[in-house]
């Protein structure tokens, strides 16, 4: 009796991923890195797609964070067990592109064409897809969750201190002083520092991060972000730290709690924090504003760059499975799915139609400021400095940038020393990537 129950349980759990009833369906494995609420919505997309038709079965599987998902997919590829679809974050793009040259990746534009699924690149927002196209403008991977840094602010704290939400960096410093005087412990903060304070800062002011069009034009690229503009910016934040206006709260989104509990009133990080903030923040009103501008560097902001992840298709499977993949991609790009995803999470919609649908539904009137990200992204036609970046080994390089900036925040290094060191160490890794991929 007991053995039977155990056997049954084991059978059930082993078939949970691939239900027996769906055996005749074409199976497509989709590995993603979306945990928590995001994971539920992602799995929901697969379920809904499966329910709509009976030819294809998308198996949506959570594989851990971005790094873990990518590493596992690569390991699986080496073992010949790769999934059809894998979600890879934006800094992994160069690695995936190099794999595409070797035939490991099935480019999305090619996939759609081969499967005969209608696909028009002009439906997609240029600032979103320009990050993921090849030099001929062909889309290589399907943008899924894209966000961009915005400035989150504590509207209640601003009102109490009697200051306006800043639009320039000079105003940020002044506002921080006023907030501090009014009892806000560390008025200014940010997360994902390389992305928000170096990569996006450069794009926003139309400055290059490196040569070869930020790496888009070739593997020989070298970093140049140790320029005066970025150096002045980093030095400014360090000074704010000395004055008690800024307190470093850790890598990634670790400083989120400082914003949520009111210690920080201006926080630069991804627009995708919207969903979480809406449910977690009760004590004060929050809003999002466009990133501040350094008026010494530019008259007008250029456009911000995206972060987040895209869906890559890996080679090595049967053609019907790719047809299913193409249909699933087409389903994901539909305005209904995109608008829902955008409104629930704060990620930007990837198509113009989804943006328009959200407008029609009155989402931006209901939740003012939620269109900040998309406005920032579509301010101007992206230039070679602002369409994104494509540097090899960039996951490790971001860690180097983290390390060097942390040395600035703790006062061990000056902005100049740290940025010079980051560029030098970064270039070293770029050369290594060039050597292993040429």
């Amino acid at each position: 009796m007991q053995t039977k129950t155990i056997l049954a349980a084991a059978l059930m759990s082993s078939t949970a991923v691939t239900p027996v009833v769906a055996q005749e369906r074409t199976q497509v494995n989709f590995w993603h890195a979306m945990g928590g609420q995001l994971g539920e919505i992602t799995d929901g997309f697969a379920e809904e797609f499966n329910a709509r038709q009976d030819a294809c079965q998308i198996n949506s599987i959570y594989k851990g964070n971005y790094t873990e998902t990518m590493t596992q997919a690569i390991a699986a590829f080496r073992a010949g067990e790769q999934p059809h679809i894998v979600q890879v974050f934006e800094v992994g793009t160069a690695t995936m592109m190099a794999a595409e040259d070797n035939g490991a990746v099935y480019p999305v534009h090619q996939l759609m064409e081969d499967a005969g699924v209608a696909f028009d690149e002009s439906d997609y927002l240029p600032a979103v897809i320009s990050y993921y196209t090849d030099t001929d403008g062909n889309l290589l991977s399907l943008p899924f969750n894209s966000s961009t840094p915005v400035m989150w602010y504590n509207a209640t704290a601003f009102e109490e201190a009697g200051v306006e939400v800043p639009t320039t960096w000079d105003e940020v410093v002044e506002a921080a002083r006023a907030l501090k005087a009014n009892g806000v412990e560390a008025p200014f903060g940010f997360g994902w520092q390389s992305w928000t304070q170096i990569e996006t800062f450069s794009a926003w002011h139309d400055l290059p991060l490196g040569t070869e069009e930020n790496g888009f034009a070739g593997l020989e690229a070298e970093f140049t972000f140790n320029n005066d503009a970025v150096e002045t910016h980093i030095a400014r934040i360090a000074e704010m730290g000395e004055e008690g206006l800024f307190s470093y709260g850790g890598r990634r989104g670790d400083s989120r709690s400082m914003f949520v509990n009111g210690d920080t009133a201006m926080w630069i990080n991804s627009s995708a924090y919207y969903g979480g903030f809406a449910s977690d923040i009760e004590d004060f009103e929050f809003g999002q504003a466009m990133l501040p501008l350094d008026t010494d560097l530019a008259e007008e902001p250029q456009n911000s760059i995206i972060g987040g992840a895209t869906l890559w298709v890996l080679q090595g499977h049967e053609s019907p499975e790719y047809t299913c993949t193409a249909e699933f991609f087409s389903f994901l790009s539909e305005p209904e799915q995109q608008a829902m995803w955008h409104q629930e999470t704060g990620y930007v919609p990837i198509t113009t139609a989804a943006y328009e649908l959200s407008q029609e539904q009155g989402f931006y009137e209901e939740a003012p400021g939620t269109d900040t990200a998309i406005k920032q992204l579509s301010l101007n036609e992206p230039t070679p400095n602002s369409k994104g970046l494509r540097f090899g080994n960039f996951v490790q390089i971001r860690d180097i940038i983290n390390e060097e900036l942390e040395a600035v925040w703790s006062g061990d290094k000056s902005a100049e020393e740290a940025l010079d060191a980051a560029v030098e160490r970064g270039n070293d890794l770029l050369r290594r990537f060039e050597a292993s991929n040429s």
Binding site: T67, F77, A99, G250, R251, Q396, S436
Partner: protein, 292 residues
Amino acid sequence: MKRVVFRSRWLPYALLAPQIAVTLIFFFWPALRAIESSFFIEDAFGFAREFVAFENYARLFADAGYLKSFRTTLIFGVGVTALAMSIALALAVAANRVLQATTLYRTLIIWPYAVAPALAGVIWFFLMNPSLGIVAYWLDLLGYDWNHYQNGDQALLMVIVAAAWKQISYNFLFFLAGLQSIPKSMMEAAAIDRAGPWRRFWTITFPLLSPTTFFLLVINFVYAFFETFALIHATTSGGPSDSTSILVFRVYQTGFVGQDYGSSAAQSVILMALVIGLTVIQFRYVERRVNY
């Protein structure tokens, strides 16, 4: 001593075979592969590899960050071992004297050992979190500014405490067993000779505990060098700057995050050599100094 003689020639080999197979497949084979990979540069997907001889090693020793990692690992290892062993010894001596509810005390002290390293890290991480943690809040009341996100020394201290906390239980068990095997009569004789508790501890208990202490020393170093990976990964990820980036964490970071398999393999080989060296030194030393 009784000698066991096998009548059949192949039987002893057959009995040993499974263990030898496990060792060969899971220890020797990966180790050899690591040595091999350390001489190549390879792309992430494994399409091409290029033989570069000792370049991976040369790069490592030219990298100031890697050299600093040795220092960090040493501080971490010594810190964890010293802290975990001294506290465990103090607790064991105290628990050895407790007359009532001994099982309860012992169970409570052994408890943390059942906690997974990553969880232990996360617990301390929450306690110490500058904006949420209760300990950070108390420190703030005392006028001490705690922020392990910014201050590397504080971060290192935090991971040392967390790693040691978890190891105390294990050390405690062995020390307590060691203490209980010391004959009562020796202590009584010393007491009659008017040796105070302090003197009795240092002249009788501590020397008689030396085999246990030595064993724990080796175990604790190995623990600090290798098994603390999950703890570091779950709390500081090696930061801030690279102040808590111990060698084993770097192997992971380079290999699994950076997909630089050549350099990661070279680091593993260096680490392997280091541990072999350390163990040899420790066992040579022990033969002379420890009273069994």
